[in-house]
Symmetry: C2
Subunit: 285 residues, 2 copies
């Protein structure tokens, strides 16, 4: 059982901007600890569902009302909306409140937020390594983040006070915080998440639907993430294009080497390669 | 709940040659229906475990004793051992008994078995689409094959009588039988299983172990099968080399097209491509 710290005194009310699977799960986590959670969505029915499933206490269709008096504001929108929403939110909130996010890319968001130093010092970029190919607050879970890695990517513009509060906040949500630079984050995630996602989509799109009765659990697991939201993943590709292209090129080279190894008939070497891949898999998790 | 047919009158005793995860699961399935199951392994401790977990009634270290009077013999060995074991088994068994297997490749095995027409007519090649990256009879399950596809690949040498019995047998184990030619099987499986397996190993081997704290459920699912047995997968690659090379080449071309699409910046087209992959995934399963 994951041990969750005590709620800090300064943290009483949080606003979730975008109550989907991730935003809703943040809300549920916080409500376990007695934090009051406001939800904002342009669509009133999203807030209604979020209240019904217990993700938020109150729903708002007006951003300034939703943010009023909150200590932390979590932007849980597609990555291309995070910087503009953070600027808006900054206008409606007290200077000590923390603005954070759940976006899968970081460098471009941090660059955009840095255009306005008043927003930049309060914005602590975060990426919880948790989620699902499903979307919608109806799939939210209070334990989604428990024990999971939450990457935080501060830079020179981030105030130490806000950074410290953001770390306390994400630990209260249930995660283990890890600090990286925005660029380190984007390079790592291109390797362990964005490339695998595109490979998953490639495997799915290459399969003849007539083979459907013949697919086993291996194919199903490898293509699970290909069912993710195309709009969200297009925005991730836009934000992290150079790092993803580098990963695609490296993967393509390794694929060619593997092809040549298989064609060579040196099956002892092939087995040693498979053995090494197995060990790396088992070492990583 | 999957509906399992009644045990046919002709089927009273089955021998499993190789009591690992797959062989053990076949044994457990059959014991649900009152079939007596003999297990053969060169290692006596494997039979001991198989008896303890309920996969077999009796264990043998002598192949002829294990097969004596059995109505079906299931060769559950790595693919490169299936044809030689089938020839041996044929010597020890009555002519009406069926010899079948669980190998992940079919054409080369059927070719090898066809060298001896007396074995060929009794050998009904089969491939249950079920399994795990784990190995060992301790992971066997009585329900592993329930409702799963069992591909059967008869050819002109297969006797109709033996084919019909093999179909009844695999349905009793719990599966839905589907008939394909050996070549059709190997081409399909190169696409939905062998290529995905190599891609999984590539993703695992390309990941820096330092990124371990940052991998999420997507990476874990996509690399699950990379933990499979390297010896078994090398044998599969040996058996189905040309079809796997074709699949690797096609995948490599599609990877290059995706790379060019991402580099072009035409993100509307990228989103449409991701949408299509998502639909194919959801259509297949």
């Amino acid at each position: 059982m994951h041990q969750i710290p005590q709620k800090p005194d300064w943290l009483n009310q949080v606003t979730i901007v975008g109550v989907g699977l991730l935003g809703g799960s943040v809300g549920m986590s916080l409500r376990r600890c007695g934090v009051t959670v406001h939800g904002y969505s342009r669509r009133p029915e999203s807030c209604d569902i979020a209240i019904r499933v217990g993700a938020i206490n109150r729903g708002f269709a007006d951003l300034s009302e939703a943010c009023d008096d909150s200590d932390v504001i979590v932007i849980a929108s597609p990555v291309d909306r995070i910087a503009p929403l953070s600027s808006q939110v900054a206008e409606f909130t007290k200077p000590e409140s923390v603005i954070t996010d759940v976006g899968s890319t970081k460098a471009m968001i941090v660059d955009q937020v840095n255009q306005d130093p008043q927003v930049a010092k309060r914005f602590v970029a975060a990426h919880p390594i948790a989620g699902s190919e499903k979307s919608g607050v109806e799939y939210a879970s209070a334990t989604l983040f428990d024990g999971k890695c939450i990457i935080i990517t501060p830079d020179d513009n981030t105030s130490q006070e806000h950074l410290s509060r953001a770390e306390q906040f994400w630990q209260l949500v249930g995660g283990r915080t890890v600090n990286l630079s925005p660029a380190e984050h984007d390079n790592c995630l291109a390797s362990v998440s964005h490339l695998p996602h595109l490979v998953s989509s490639l495997l799915a799109s290459n399969t003849d639907p007539k083979s459907a009765p013949l697919v086993g659990s291996g194919w199903k697991d490898m293509t699970r993430v290909a069912a993710g939201d195309p709009e969200m993943w297009t925005a991730i590709c836009q934000h992290n294009r150079p790092a993803i292209l580098d990963q695609l090129d490296a993967f393509s080279n390794h694929l060619q080497q593997l092809r040549d190894l298989l064609a060579s008939g040196d099956d002892e070497k092939l087995q040693a390669w498979l053995q090494k891949a197995k060990e790396t898999k088992q070492q990583i998790g």
